[in-house]
Each structure stands twice: as C-alpha cells, then as structure tokens.
Subunit: 542 residues, 2 copies
C-alpha cells in the first residue's frame, strides 16, 4: 500500500526557487576574471538563471543536450549549473587543466551543443574550436566591454550580451527526478576519460547529505568558500548545498594562490573552506612565511587526496581550524565519508581523537560501504584488515556515459579502486589505491603511509612512493622526494627517519631526490609518470 503524502520530484530547480524565496538576499560573492569582486544574491542568481534557461531554449537546444563549461568558480558558472540542470539539460563541467586534445575529445564524446568559457581559457578554445563539430555556440563569460578582439573564433558570443537579450520569465519544468542535470568526466590517469552523469535526485540527496552536522555542517550562518573547482565534481556539491541551506557562498575565481585565498578568507569572513591538500599547502606556506592568523575560519574540508597528518596538525594546532577529512570520487558525487567524532569519543584524550580524525571518516547516510578481498568476499570491520573498498547508494554511479563498456558495478556495488580498512565504529581509512599499493613478498605495503612519514620530516617538501620490480620480492618501495629549499638532507638520514615508524621490511629500499614531482590536472601525484620514468631503475638491493 502506498502512503498518502505528496510526491514532488527532488529537483535542483527546487533548490534554486527555495533559496530565491527564503534566502533572497543571502550573498553570492565571486572574484572574477575581470579582476574585481562581484557581489549579488540568490534572487539575482535565480533571475539570471531563468534568462539563461530561456537562452538555451531559444537556441533550440533540447532537454538532455549537454552544455559545456570551461570555467573557474564564480556566479556565472553557478548560473550555468542551475539553468542547465534546472531546464532538463546537462551542465557538463570540463577540467581546463587537461591538455587541449583531451578537452576536445571530451567535448566531442559528450556532444556538447555549446561551450561557455572564462576568458582565461581563450587560448584553449582557440586551439580546439574547429575540432568540436557539435558545439554551435562558443560563449565568453566576461563583461561585454572586455570582449577580446581578433580571437580567430568565428561567431564568438558574449555571455552578458546574450543574457541581456533574454526574458526573465521562465517556468522551471517539473522533471522526472532521475533526469540528468550535470556531468563530469573522470580525469583518469589511465585510459580515456569517462563521463559521470548526475541526476537531479542524486544531486539533491547529496546536498542534504553533505549539509548534515556530521558532514560539512552547512547552515545559513556560514560563509562557505569552495576552493575546490566547480569543474571538479561540482565543487563537492557546495553550489547545491548552499542553496538548500541559504548559505552565503564565496567563489575564489582564478586566484588559487595562497595569498589570494588567504585574503578572501579574511575579507569575506569565511567560516568554512573546502579544497584539496595541494591548495591548502600553498595557503599554509603563505601564512607561515608571513606569520598570519585566521579571524573567522573554523573548519576546512580536505579531500581529493589523503591529507598528510602534518597538514592536519598545522590547521588544528597552529591555526585552531578544525579539519574535516573527507573521501569521495567523481563517481560518488563526491562525498562518501567524512571524519567527525561520535558521542563516545568525546571523553578521549586529544591524541586518541586525532587518530580517529586522521581516517577518511564515516559513511554519510545514503552511502553503503564494504571492503572485500581478492575473492570478492566481505572482510571484517576491525580497523586492521585492508580490502578493496566498494560503495553503493543513491548518489553513487550506476554506469558511465556511453563508455561502450559494461556497467562497472559488481553485484550492485561500485569498486572504488581504493584499498581501505573499516573499523568497528565505521571509520574508513584508505591505505592505498589498488594500483599504487606495493606488493612485496605477498604482503601489501601502503605507499601512502610511506609518503606521510617522509613529508613529516622537517626537510621534505613533497614525496611519492612507488613500487619497482624486484627479482625476489616482486616489488619493493622506493621514495621519490623533494627537499625543502636549503636542505642538505641525505638518503641515509631520510631512511633512518623510518626506524620504528614502520616494520623493517616496509622501509623503502632507496630514496631518489628530485626537483619536482609530476602532478596531474587535479593536483594529484602522477605516479604513473614516475613509474614510467623509473621503469628501468635498478634497486641497490638487487
């Protein structure tokens, strides 16, 4: 028997109209490519999103059509989120840090009908515009009086002029809540990028989930700064959760250096910021160098890559900012777990609490989680046994967009490619990526553990650990490290630093100092490149 409650679909247009009605004057603040700080409110966002939806309709794009973006975090990008997804189209956010050929490949695979881009990315568009036959409109998002001349792109359009010509009257359609609204390609380090197609339902449920007190804890009293890019898994869902909660949101635009981010946090009274470790490292370096403090920031969400313990210490102990360590993937919308204490942990001493908070955290309701062994059998949640992490839930992927491959699911579970433990209290800890774990003599050695020890050394700026072939042990770990400026740290000193921190057989066989470690488009260590560089490396132990 069915219940007798209303059954309105969960729609992202509903988030927008809610914010427009109940939080009309809550601010949306953006550092722009134009160089200034732009301020407006949810009522303006809603008004301009309706104009934009009219534009998409009057262009003749159809429901389901993909609309591409190459853009920083800002109000225009947020307008595209809501106008695209709210009108039944799909806002396809593209990572501008990929190489132009990859970008063109992604646009063509998605069959984007239009491409909206920030002026910063004009050079990319100049390279690809004649390789993307489905794109009928190339639109620069810049004030009309700042339009560049002689771009070489025929029919290049201006965002502000297009919007000004549209009516603000638009009725958001009552879509099936499973209708697609957004799309993001994984920037896989191997193989072709694969498209993840979010639905209205998955986006709204994820917005409820990440706003919860045990997750990002987003309220209308916050000022939230998503430093994580909007082209990177929807800035972790913040643009949706902000509307759901009526939260003041501040976008950093193109300026992600430590100084700019610090100044924005201070000038806008940010209470919560979200980003990847690489960006926070730049921020912390700037603050250390200039002896700065935070006035309003009380928490940072750190995800995208495992957060080194030293970074958590810096935020918590030096700056009194709580670190919310999170885990997720493009395929999980992205938030899967986040680390906050439970009632029973409140009496523990700070060191014991820290040990818990260092883990990637507990599942949010909406995400189911298990670990399995090589045979697919479920492993115990004992905090020690590591297995392949599998997840499922209403904001987890079912299938990739036109990948040509079968669904990645195994018995309904998505294999994350991470190796993890789960403890009795449900706290998950990534020990490695399936492809990065070092298999030595039948045992697994976590490359992440060895990297964390290295960066805890005061003279190490960055470190990556990979396995190289060994005739006896199959693989052995070596460490590739960047010294801090002025340091004359030696191989022997760094290896000695591992004593008593891991078992003897887990200590790397060698250290190679380099000037720079290659990073991928989203700031992650590119171990695949390191492995390639070191494929003929002869270990001193062989």
């Amino acid at each position: 028997m069915l219940g007798l409650m209303q059954t309105q679909p969960l729609l992202i247009s509903g988030l927008l109209t809610f914010a427009e009605c109940h939080h009309s004057d809550a601010e949306i603040i953006s550092r722009r490519v134009e160089g200034d700080i732009h301020r407006y409110a949810y009522a303006d966002l809603a008004r301009r999103a309706r104009r934009l939806a009219n534009l998409l309709q009057n262009w003749g794009t159809e429901p389901g059509d993909r609309i591409g973006t190459l853009a920083w975090n800002g109000y225009r990008h947020m307008e595209l989120y809501y106008a695209g997804g709210g009108s039944g189209r799909v806002t396809h956010t593209i990572n501008p840090r990929l190489i132009p050929d990859q970008i063109a490949w992604i646009i063509n695979h998605a069959e984007d009908q239009a491409l909206f881009f920030d002026l910063t990315f004009l050079p990319i568009v100049q390279l690809i515009h004649d390789k993307c036959p489905t794109v009928k409109h190339w639109v620069v998002m810049i004030d009309a009086d700042r339009m560049p001349a002689d771009t070489g792109i025929p029919g290049l359009e201006n965002y502000e002029e297009l919007l000004a010509a549209q009516s603000g009257d638009y009725e958001w359609p009552e879509l099936d809540e499973n209708t697609a609204c957004g799309m993001c390609y994984t920037s896989g380090t191997t193989g072709r990028p694969k498209g993840v197609l979010y639905s209205n339902r998955s986006s709204v449920l994820h917005a409820y989930g990440i706003s919860l007190p045990d997750v990002i804890n987003i309220s209308s009293r916050d000022s939230i700064l998503p430093v994580v890019p909007m082209f990177h898994v929807n800035a972790w869902g913040v643009p949706y959760a902000a509307a759901l909660t009526g939260t003041r949101v501040v976008f950093p635009g193109p300026a992600l250096d430590g100084k700019s981010v610090y100044e924005l946090i201070e000038s806008e009274g940010i209470t919560c910021a979200a980003g990847v470790p690489t960006v926070w490292q730049m921020l912390l370096n700037h603050m250390d160098a200039n002896k700065l403090k935070f006035s309003t920031l009380n928490r940072t969400v750190i995800g995208g890559a495992a957060c080194p313990p030293a970074m958590i210490d810096a935020f918590e102990e030096r700056y009194d900012v709580r670190v919310l360590h999170a885990w997720g993937m493009t395929e999980t919308s992205p938030v899967g777990t986040l680390s906050t204490l439970k009632n029973k942990h409140l009496e523990l001493d700070p060191e014991a609490q820290k040990k818990i908070l260092l883990k990637q955290g507990r599942a949010v309701f909406g995400v189911d989680m298990k670990i399995v062994g090589g045979d697919g059998k479920e492993l115990p949640h004992d905090g020690r046994t590591a297995g392949s992490l599998m997840v499922k839930g209403p904001w987890v992927i079912e299938d990739y967009f036109r990948s040509g491959d079968p669904s990645p699911l195994v018995d309904g579970w998505f294999p994350t490619g991470d190796i993890a433990t789960i403890d009795e209290d449900g706290y998950m800890q990534i020990t490695d990526r399936t492809k990065d774990v070092i298999k030595s003599g039948g045992e697994w050695i976590s490359s992440i553990d060895l990297e964390n020890i290295a960066v805890a050394h005061p003279e190490v700026a960055e470190a990556a650990c990979i396995g190289v072939k060994h005739p006896k042990w199959d693989e052995r770990p070596i460490l590739v490290a960047v010294k801090k400026p002025g340091s004359d740290l030696t191989r022997e000193e760094l290896l000695a630093f591992y004593q008593d921190k891991v078992a003897k057989w887990q200590i790397p066989d060698d250290v190679i100092f380099v000037d720079e470690i290659p990073h991928g488009a989203t700031g992650k260590l590119l171990k695949i490149k390191l492995r390639d560089l070191l494929k003929d490396y002869r270990l001193p132990t062989t």
Copy 2:
C-alpha cells in the same frame, strides 16, 4: 535524458541497517513501564526488529496491513516503527489519551490487524477489545514475568515471549519508496479523527530535513530526548533522524512529570530535548521550585503549540538553553518551520535576535510555504500581512486515509488552518488558528497574542482567549485565566496589564477566572469546550 546514478529507494529499513552497520553500539535508553531504565544499542534494535518482522509475517499479516500501538516512548515502540514500516506494513500509532470509544473507532477505521500496548493501557484495552473485530492479536509489551493475570482479554499475548520464539534472520524487502510505513490520526477537535499515512520516502526525506544544522541539528555527538510522544506524529521524526545520524536516543517512557524528565536529562547527559509547551512548563516549575540547573542540555525543540515568550525567556536566560521554536502538524510529518538565525542576524543585539527567534521560523528545504487571503490570492511576505498558511512538499499530506472526502489540497497546497505572517527573510509567525481568530468589527484579533500577554503576568498560570458574540462588533475577545496559587489578582488589574501592549480595541472585554482550563489529548487548550461553556455568556460591554 536520465542520469546514470544508482536509484536505491529511500526506505526506513535503510535507516536501520545504516545505524546497525555504522553505529552498532550507539545507545538507545528507555525508562520502562516496568520502572527501570533499559539500555541497549542500534545492533540490538535491528536484531529485535527482524524478529518482530518475522512475527508479523508468520502471523499471516500482509504488506499494507496496519499494526496498531498504544505505547509510551521506548525501545519496543521503536522496534515496532522499524519492523512494521520496514517490512511493508504500516505502524499505526494511536493516542492513548483519547477516550476509549474514539480509540476503538480509530482502530476499526484503520482496520488494525494487531494491537501492541504498554501495560499502562490495559484498562483501555479491557474496554475496547471486544469492539475491534479486525484485531487478531492483542499484545502486552512487558517482561514475560510481569504479565498480568485475569485480564479478561482472551488470548492476550506477551511481546517478549513472541519475539523469543522468532528467528532473527529476516531480509528487509526492497519496497517502492512511496510504500506506506506509518500512520497517525489527527486528534481533530471537531469531527472524526482523520488518518495521515506516511510513506518510506516522506519519512526518510523528513529525517534528512530535521537533522540539518538549521533545523534540530542532530549529530552523533548528541544525546536526544524526545519527550514528545511517539504516538504524536512519530515523536516529530526523531526515531528516524536518530538512526540516520547514529544519535544516542533516550526515551522517557510514561514518566513525563517535571521531576522525572529533569532527572533523566541529568542522569543521561541529554543535549537536546523535544516537546510541547505543557511538558516544559512542568519541567520549569519543578526546576524553579527546587532551584535546579541543567548540566548538559543545550537546546530544546518546542512545538505542538505556540511557545509563550515567557517560556523562551526562562529557558534561554535562566537556564542557558537555546529554544528552537518549531511549527508543524500531523499532516506535515510534522516539521515545517523552525526558528534559527541567519548569517545577517548575527550582528543584531540580543533583543532583536529574540524577536526573530520568537517566530515559528523558516521553512526547511522540502517544505514550500505561502499565505493567501480569503480570495485565495497570495499575500506579500512583509511580516505584517496575515493570511491562511498553505504548505506543500514531499513530506506534506496528499490525502487522508479513506476519509470519504476529496483531497484537502487546494491547487496542490495543503491549507494548514493556521493564520500567519511571513517576513522578508522567510520567517513565518502563526498569529492564530483560522477557527480561533476573533473577528471584531471587520478586523482580526489574534487570540494567541492576548493569551501570551496574560501568561506574561507574574500571577497568571494559564490563559485562553476566545471570541464571544457581540451585537455590534460581531465578536469580542474575553479572557479565561487561571491564577497562580495564592494570587488575588483582580479582573481590573489583569485588564490594565494590557495597556500599551496592544491597541485599545484589541483588549479583552472581560476576564473570567477559573480553576482549570480544559485541555485536549495532546495538551492543547480545548477552546471548543470553552466556547461551548460560554456560549450564553453576556459580555459586560453589551
């Protein structure tokens, strides 16, 4: 085009399995009819709910069948919530404070197949058991060794014995998320009670909604005490939200007096409690009389009736407990609005903040809200214009259960029967019930405003204001008041207290002191009875 995310249904069994997996040892604590304090955890709840689901199945009840309860707040009642709703049956919570004939009427209208009751309610069951032909099983929820003898109820069964005989293996079915899971009849002051049939979807979405930081702000670090009964709109959804967040929950059982509630709050370290003003008044009286303080309580949710400003002051100023003023109805699951400040209000002085927090609050995402005039046209959100409050959303009623009447919705909106204003920031304030507002000379006078002024007088214990017929003005307000013990307050003194607090024409025409004001089954003032008692009352002003 549909998204490519997973589409698991939102099920209350999912809440239970989530809590079992990720919060297995989080406590559920109950004061029992047996007199003791019972403690167990979510893992035990899940295990016993599976046994109970097997019982319902082995009895031959079908999916969709209603299972009645007459019970206090406690772990067994929570088991019934999950076993009934999780298995596709409908847990029908019945208000034991109704008169036995009404209870029998409700059981028969719902066609309950079984009735589970606390021993306290044996006298009711003795009166009705032979009037309820659909009920095949009458089950007392009490330890087996405490079963009463000679009840006169043939085949009376014991809950613990029944559960002990069942297997703990049970697979929760993957239901359509719109499947009914719970049912609650409105205790209408006029006409027959009407059944509201909650769905799995509405219950899960409501649980997300009320857990948000701007609503009840429920985290796994809380210890939550729902004093509001589980037979009264699912204890405002706390039993579902607690599982969603893994929160320690404490049930007060039958002991709702000030002393018992206070002792439970202190002994269990309660951080958040939820209940109606009548219960809080008993608690405050007990604390005042004994000069007590709270050690851990930081907030109370007050709803079910407008909270008198004096009560908010008492909690906030005397006891440093934040009051979350809320509004809702059986038909809205129930939470519709809740009062918390926005970012822009943080700089206001405490008096200005208090003025905002006195309102019933802002809509939670999932509830749409508007006010309309007598012509059905939408009225402005200016904080002054009052109109009939209309709501809609995925946890708002679509229709009553087999009422025989058409759906109550008007153009998709549910008319709440409340008169309210909504301000520019979306804060709603109930000014009266549609049926209680006093229509004097074409103007509306809020009976609630006049009552709040009366109870703010230090010598008034309780007050009710109703309109009585007036030959010239149509209706005029009179105040019915209960003096505090020992007071010799006069009619004239109380009327003088209204000077400068309302317009002259809004001051009551008369005061009648009584020893007691009649209350309904849920603690609300029974104005219908007052009107009946005073229908021939001759105003001194006519």
